[in-house]
């Protein structure tokens, strides 16, 4: 009569869970002849959902278009959607599931560098493919990942040069506290030193930080000419609103952001960010026939209020690049597709892109833009031609120390 511990072991239940496990296993995919499965792995819940759901949307749009045009290798694409839940181990788990369980031909997914780094060992281990659609800090080139967002030399480096030339030399670096801003800023510091800029201060706030009073006080006392903004997510909203409240406009200080696109501007409110700058490879206003069609299709699919943006575009053309590579290879076999993908070109909404066989990044055109009062972005400058991706910044002397350390 040991009621103290109430220890009646209903291990019965455990067996139940057990059986559930087993039955799930039995559903393992059987090779379906008519379709090609592709995985879509973005955060649909949690903090990152604010950004990632739209990328999923554009990837689905591309898949739909491809299917309507007869599919790939005569087969329809069957997207399998998983939620990364803004949690990196979940990204790893779901990637593993997509590759091992569903045996997808490729995965389109990720946003934060952390999510990519979580998926990296999984795709390498299972010799899978991952198409990663977001600008990032570089210093990476996995044989199993295609990077369709900008490498630092396609976004950050030209932006710094442009700012030094056009807006001033006194820089204030503000970023969210994680790998992308920190690494990006390390490069920027080296570049500033080399190109005659002056670093006044470097500040980081935790992801999700909401009160920028103190940062703004520091900005006021430092009096920079340029704020180079690598904040991510919600923090941008708080920062720009509070900056404007503090009476600082784009006439006083230029803020150039590399993680604020049209979609983020909707959340920030165009009135407070108007006149500030961004650096990307694509804007909704980018003037190409492909973009006109893309924007129209995207709005038709997701509503007139929907806006397109750089990562949305990168997600979109990533699907097309993969499809072209598969067609070229005549199979979805990963090694064959990788081989076939080298040098493949596509007329993306943001202009022509081409896969660089050396590092599996993409040639892209850099565009610096200014936010308009309607939340769209006007291009002020572009690089004129797609730049070769240089994830390790090997082409820059000032970065030699950095890249040397990294190539080990």
């Amino acid at each position: 009569a040991d009621n103290a511990a109430n220890a009646t072991d209903p291990e019965e239940d455990e067996t139940e869970t057990e059986t559930e496990e087993t039955t799930e296993t039995e559903e393992t995919s059987s090779e379906d002849e008519d379709t090609i499965k592709v995985g879509i792995l973005h955060s649909l819940s949690g903090t990152m959902a604010i950004s990632e759901t739209s990328v999923r949307d554009s990837e689905l749009l591309a898949i739909k278009e491809i299917n309507e045009n007869g599919g790939v290798l005569g087969k329809q694409l069957e997207p399998i959607i998983e939620d990364g839940a803004s949690d990196w181990p979940t990204f790893a788990e779901k990637a593993k599931k997509l590759l091992q369980q569903d045996e997808v031909a490729t995965i389109f997914g990720g946003w934060t560098s952390a999510s990519r780094k979580a998926m990296l060992p999984v795709v390498e281990e299972n010799n899978g493919l991952l198409w990663y659609p977001v600008q990032y800090e570089g210093m990476e080139a996995s044989p199993n990942i295609f990077y369709t967002g900008a490498a630092p030399n396609q976004q950050i480096v030209p932006a710094v040069s442009w700012l030094l030339e056009n807006r001033g030399t006194k820089f204030f670096l503000l970023g969210s506290d994680y790998v992308f801003p920190r690494t990006a800023n390390a490069a920027i510091k080296a570049q500033l030193e080399a190109e005659g800029g002056e670093l006044l201060a470097e500040e980081y706030t935790p992801l999700g930080h909401t009160d920028y009073n103190t940062i703004i006080a520091k900005i006021k006392s430092e009096q920079p000419e340029v704020i180079f903004n690598t904040l991510n997510g919600d923090s941008n909203v708080a920062f720009f609103k509070q900056l404007s409240d503090a009476g600082i406009t784009s006439d006083d200080i230029t803020v150039l952001s590399v993680s604020v696109a049209e979609e983020e501007i909707k959340g920030i409110g165009a009135d407070v960010i108007e006149g500030h700058l961004t650096s990307w490879n694509y804007y909704q206003t980018t003037d190409t026939p492909e973009n006109e069609e893309f924007v129209a299709n995207y709005k038709a699919e997701y509503g007139d209020d929907a806006v397109t943006a750089d990562p949305i575009e990168a997600g979109y053309f990533g699907v097309y690049l993969w499809a072209k590579a598969v067609e070229a290879a005549g199979t979805t076999d990963v090694d064959a597709v990788k081989e076939a993908a080298k040098g493949i070109e596509f007329d993306a909404p943001g202009g022509p892109v081409k896969i660089d066989g050396d590092n599996q990044h993409v040639y892209k055109t850099v565009r610096i833009g200014e936010v308009r009062s309607d939340g769209q972005i006007d291009e002020l400058w572009n690089s004129g031609e797609p730049l070769k991706p240089d994830p390790y910044l090997e082409g820059y002397d000032w970065a030699s120390e950095l890249s040397e350390a990294l190539s080990q």
Binding site: A1, D2, N3, A4, A5, N6, A7, T8, D9, P10, E11, E12, D13, E14, T17, E18, E20, E21, T22, E24, T25, T28, L44, S45, G46, I81, E82, D83, A85, S86, D87, W88, P89, A92, E93, K96, K97, Q100, Q101, T112, A114, K117, A118, L120, P121, E125, E137, M139, D177, Y178, V179, R182, T183, A186, Y204, P206, L207, A405, L406, Q408
Partner: protein, 372 residues
């Protein structure tokens, strides 16, 4: 007494052995991926047992077990990372401008040291926090919220010190464990089996602990901390002990987690996972030890299942699960089992003609009085 009738069915060694056997044989009939998932759930179950000791038996609710889990996990991850780089600087350190391995990474070159620290470190932190709070009779809700704030702080620290911790991305991309290729199917099977064995030992050990007088004293502390003082006990010592123990178990779980999942990052130790951990215990049935094991496996299997089948809607399911369990199953799945047993027993009692007045049970008494 009356329980004897059912003890033979529910509470015997045969059944325990049977379950253990199934778990041990699982590699034969589960795919690598599913086995790996199950192994992860079982690692969680170890943590859940520790959390149950703390919450179910001692009445202390910690919303901060993520960090103990994380500390264990990071200890293991540091070792794995150093194995992978062959003792050289991990990539994220180079990006953050580190020149050489920071001091605190040095011990983790040695797997044994890493494993020991993986348990001791979280236990030590738990001890410190427990000592500082319980000693001052910071109890109930105060402690709970403090433990939650601790998570916030530790996560902020881990993210902020990315030259040492890998920041938001955490630590990943491992190669070998004791020289074996960590991701190979055979290594994973062995790690799974180790997890099963560890879980079984932890379960048996904790069970022995709570079946003894300590268990009764803990229940006393839970239900009437003040009263225990006047019986000559110092409740804060007991709470600190259990907190420390459960911190250590969480660390152990974290190590097994990393070995199977191959990544640890602050998202895994934050506020949300910490609350989910409590749910495992609540759903399984607190104060039962076995309940939390079931809860950990069940909740995570459900989460995985839901999110695979309904990636857009699974949070609704998970949310609803919380609500339903708490409202309708305050004693968790174990409570359900108890209810069924009770019903059956009542039938038996009627048949065997025992006076009904003898079986007024604990269910009628207010349990929760001192929980807050």
């Amino acid at each position: 007494m009356q329980k004897a009738i059912y003890q033979s069915v529910f509470n015997n060694k045969v059944l325990f052995t049977f379950i253990l056997l199934i778990l041990l044989l699982a590699p034969l009939f589960l795919s690598d991926f599913r086995l790996n998932l199950l192994g992860k759930f079982l690692a969680f179950a170890i943590l859940a047992i520790g959390l149950d000791l703390l919450w179910g038996y001692t009445g202390v609710l910690s919303l901060g077990h993520g960090i103990f889990f994380g500390l264990g996990a990071y200890c293991m991850a540091m070792y794995l990372k150093l194995e992978a780089t062959g003792g050289k600087l991990p990539d994220f350190m180079t990006w953050s401008g580190m020149q050489e391995l920071p001091l605190i990474w040095l011990p983790f070159q040695y797997p044994i040291v890493a494993i020991i620290l993986g348990i001791l470190l979280p236990a030590a932190i738990a001890f410190l926090l427990g000592y500082l709070t319980f000693r001052n009779r910071i109890n109930g809700v105060y402690f709970t919220i403090l433990s939650q704030a601790l998570v916030l702080v530790v996560v902020t620290l881990f993210i902020g010190q990315q030259n040492i911790t890998g920041g938001t991305s955490g630590v990943t991309n491992f190669e070998t464990f004791f020289g074996f290729h960590v991701n190979s199917s055979s290594t994973q099977t062995v790690i799974y089996l180790i997890t099963v064995v560890v879980l079984a030992s932890v379960f048996l050990g904790c069970r022995k602990l709570v079946k003894g007088r300590l268990g009764n004293v803990l229940v006393g502390v839970r239900d009437g901390e003040n009263r225990m003082r006047f019986l000559g006990y110092n409740p804060s010592n007991y709470k600190t002990f259990v907190y420390t123990l459960s911190g250590g178990l969480a660390g152990l779980a974290g190590m097994l987690f990393v070995l199977q999942v191959g990544i640890i990052s602050p998202t895994m130790i934050g506020i949300i996972p910490s609350i989910e951990m409590v749910l495992w215990v609540a759903l399984g049935g607190r104060g039962t030890l076995i309940g939390p094991v079931i809860g950990a496996v069940f909740v995570n299997a459900a989460k995985t299942g839901f999110s695979e089948s309904y990636p857009e809607y699974w949070t609704y399911f998970l949310g609803a699960l919380f609500v339903i369990v708490v409202v309708f199953l305050p004693k968790g799945l174990m409570g359900l089992v108890e209810m069924i047993q009770e019903r059956r027993r009542k039938v038996d009692v009627k048949q065997s003609g025992i006076k009904e007045s003898n079986i007024k049970e604990s269910s009628s008494v207010e349990v929760e009085k001192n929980y807050s």
